[in-house]
């Protein structure tokens, strides 16, 4: 029986970069303090990570990369360095979630097309505009030759990527998966959100991401990696409210049904919930009804900012909470009450995903 386990975390958030730094900041009750100015006011931006000496790629590759790909590669490298490497990567998969991809760069490309004409389009820019550019660069960086998927279903994208990786390990499609997601924050995202009538009201807009290592328990043991959490499953559904196909309007009944199913199939009690939008009353209501009781919620939204791929950050946080029962769930100091961690993400369009991890 294969048991997929979480063995390494690479975290890149406005709160902190790196697992140890993130955990320390979380334990200290810190909140990301750098508030961006201008059109992204209220948003939380990651630090100038690309200037860190530890950026994993050589100069030539780094020059070619867009900012989102750099976030993905940096997160992947942090995961690689969070333990005894990655082991044999010949059958390691890469799974990346991103909803908006390189929105800022795509806008710049189109503006240049408008202002200067097609003959001035930079051939180096276009390959970075496809959503799977980051996964491609990460594969090159890690030498991973296994399957590679990029998931783009709004706020479930990173959860989809991690669930796919865990499913793949369980089914033997590949030996290990480096999975997660990233999103960038910029002027265009902020303007688009405002103009489209979908302002982020549940918390500040954030950016960054995370990559986590999922592998079989046997593989982890063989290479000396310590499991942080055990995967109990992930379930997807769609809970669209009729008449709102393009907006994120959560149907609490659909959420409750999915969460009830997840808890029942996982066969464990849930001790903490990590929601894509903790400030959304319908989502909270659906989760608590599905669980049949109140559980503490993380407050990552206020401390790291919200973005569509933050399911990866929440998965990493779940790993930390499950590995260390003394780590507070939120700034109120609440602790996980011994149960597993439930992640629930609700995307616009109606996509829902619930994933359950438990202690190793």
């Amino acid at each position: 029986m294969i048991r997929p386990v979480l063995t390494a975390l690479g975290v890149l958030t406005p709160l902190a970069i790196g697992r140890a730094e993130f955990e320390a900041a979380w334990r200290a009750g810190e909140c990301a303090a750098r508030i961006a100015d201008g059109p992204t006011a209220g948003g939380l931006a990651v630090d100038s990570f690309i200037l860190r000496k530890s950026f994993p790629a050589g100069r030539a590759l780094m020059r070619r990369m867009d900012r989102l790909s750099k976030m993905i590669c940096m997160s992947g490298a942090l995961a690689r360095d969070d333990g005894p490497g990655l082991g044999d990567v010949s059958r390691m998969a890469i799974g990346v979630g991103t909803d908006l991809g390189t929105l800022e760069e795509t806008w710049a490309f189109l503006c240049r097309l408008r202002d200067k004409g097609p003959e001035f389009a930079n051939p180096n820019d276009f390959p970075n505009l496809v959503p799977n550019a980051g996964a491609g660069y990460l594969g090159i960086l890690m030498g991973a030759r296994g399957p590679s998927h990029t998931f783009c279903q709004h706020s479930t994208c990173a959860d989809d990527a991690i669930a796919w990786a865990a499913d793949g390990v369980l089914a033997g499609w590949f030996d290990a998966g480096l999975a997660g997601g990233a999103e960038e924050l910029g002027e265009i995202r902020a303007k688009a959100m405002a103009r489209s009538g979908c302002p982020i009201t549940e918390g500040p807009a954030g950016e960054g991401g995370a990559m986590v290592m999922v592998e079989s328990e046997a593989r982890a043991e063989a290479r000396g990696a310590s499991p942080l959490a055990v995967w109990r499953g992930s379930w997807g559904s769609s809970g669209l409210r009729r008449g709102s196909p393009l907006k994120r309007e959560v149907d609490p009944d659909a959420v409750a049904a999915l969460v009830e199913l997840a808890q029942r199939k996982a066969g464990i009690a849930i001790g903490v919930a990590l929601l894509s939008h903790p400030g959304d009353a319908a989502l909270r209501d659906g989760v608590m009804r599905g669980l049949g009781r109140e559980v503490p919620l993380t407050d990552h939204d206020a401390r790291c900012g919200i973005h569509p791929a933050d399911g990866a950050v929440r998965t990493a946080l779940a790993g930390m909470l499950l590995a260390d029962g003394s780590l507070p769930v939120n700034r109120s100091g609440a602790l996980r009450d011994g149960g597993g961690a439930l992640l629930v993400s609700a995307g616009r369009g109606g996509g829902l995903r619930a994933s359950v991890w438990t202690e190793a």
Partner: protein, 418 residues
């Protein structure tokens, strides 16, 4: 019968709207490449495209969509409209109505790259002096731009309540989405999955491939010694995958079987394939392994076949790595020679080409072919479809980021034991 079966499929392409028109055009060797008039393409290296110039809301398409309960809404843009037409046809062929899809066991896995980009870029590029994009852009255009929105529209009209996912891996998007659907059924995540992909032409992709000098100003000539690049196309393909037992229980007609899926990363270069063809070979071999299929059983390959120098050469080398000397006689054709490269839709459009070849008894051709390349030893099925009883085939898709994928597909009556 066990495994995963195909019970319906629909296609919208530059050479035919609907599977029957598509099949006829494939077999006849039609080429859907023409001068783009969707936008002004005169300033680009190439003004050619595989543009769908007809209104996809034909009487036939409307009838199929109505039978399946799919509204053909135009307010979501071209890519979504293509997808809705293909969905309606696929469901009608499968004998399904949207009212039957809300069981929680039906999922949706869709691929694509551009979604509503054509519409939103049109507003940006059409700005008058002094106009601010953010003052005038319709909110619907913005909402339809992220790639996941095509699946949103399909979800909203189909009533699907199971898992939903969008995969965007450039040119292999649809193939990977089809593979994900296969995985979901095989692992019990769903018993029926609507899969496929769609992409509409837009200036962003046309300009990007022009800038990379990967496009041709002539018709695409895959595997031909004179080949000098691809032509960007557009289209949609939707396929209904079902657990074989569930399909049998409802008396569905089986149109084909999806036996296996392979996907791998090349870990080599952002845009260039591994020159030795090992990436392409790994994906094909993985699909064969997944299907438990001996390579000698493969009768035909629907190639990625973009008509660029490097792609066609490495794909041929990959085929030789997998099939050995037999590859030189293997029919390997490129549907992109007829439709142009439909990018995120191509895997689904080309899977439909394989299924139609199986249904109607022919191998889809490589059109515009006239001069053999001594470095490319294969049978390109030149210019017109070739009569054949096609049993088992592969369909390839390779993409930026070194993302290679392949599907193993069988005729419903094919003996699939190795």
């Amino acid at each position: 019968m066990s495994g995963v079966v195909i019970t319906g499929f629909g296609v919208v392409s530059p050479i035919g709207l609907g599977v029957d028109a598509f099949s006829h055009a494939l077999r006849a060797g039609a080429c859907g490449v023409s001068t783009i008039d969707l936008f002004d393409a005169s300033a680009y290296r190439s003004a050619l495209g595989g543009q769908i110039k007809a209104d996809v809301r034909t009487e036939h398409a409307r009838a199929l969509c109505e039978a399946a309960g799919v509204p053909m809404q135009t307010r979501y843009g071209r890519t979504a409209l293509f997808s809705l037409a293909a969905l309606g046809e696929a469901l009608a062929m499968a004998g399904l109505h949207t009212e039957e899809l809300g069981d929680g066991e039906t999922g949706l896995a869709f691929g694509g790259c551009t979604a509503g980009t054509f519409e939103s870029e049109g507003t940006l590029l059409g700005l008058e002096d002094g106009e601010d994009y953010w003052d005038i852009v319709p909110p619907m255009e913005l909402l339809m731009t992220p790639v996941g929105t095509t699946a949103d529209v399909l979800l909203s009209v189909s009533g699907v309540r199971g898992p939903v996912s969008t995969i965007s891996t450039a040119c292999s998007s649809a193939t990977n989405a089809i593979g994900l659907g296969l995985r979901w059924i095989n692992s019990g995540r769903a018993t029926r999955v609507i899969v496929g992909g769609a992409d509409g032409l837009c200036r962003l992709t046309h300009c990007g491939f022009n800038a990379l000098r990967l496009v041709s100003s002539e018709v695409p000539r895959p595997f031909d010694a004179r080949r000098n690049g691809m032509v960007i196309g557009e289209g949609a393909g939707v396929i209904v995958l079902e657990d074989a037992e569930r399909a049998a229980a409802r008396g569905a007609i089986v149109r084909g079987r999806l036996l296996g899926f392979g996907n791998g990363a090349e870990a080599h270069h952002a845009t260039q394939p591994r020159p030795d063809g090992s990436g392409a070979a790994a994906a094909m071999q993985a699909a064969l392994d997944d299907a438990g299929m001996d390579p000698c059983r493969i009768e035909y390959i629907n190639a990625h076949g973009t008509a660029t120098q490097q792609n066609d050469l490495t794909e041929c080398r990959g085929a030789h790595l997998v099939f050995g000397p037999r590859a030189a006689q293997m029919p390997i054709s490129s549907t992109k020679s007829q439709t142009g490269h439909t990018l995120g839709a191509s895997g689904a459009v080309e899977m439909a080409a394989v299924l139609l070849g199986m249904r109607d008894g022919f191998l889809p051709p490589t059109v515009n072919w006239g001069e053999a390349d001594p470095e490319i030893a294969l049978d390109p099925v030149p210019n017109v479809g070739r009569a054949a009883d096609l049993g088992i085939a592969l369909s390839n898709a390779f993409a930026f980021g070194g993302n290679d994928a392949s599907l193993c597909i069988a005729h419903p009556d094919a003996e699939v034991g190795s």
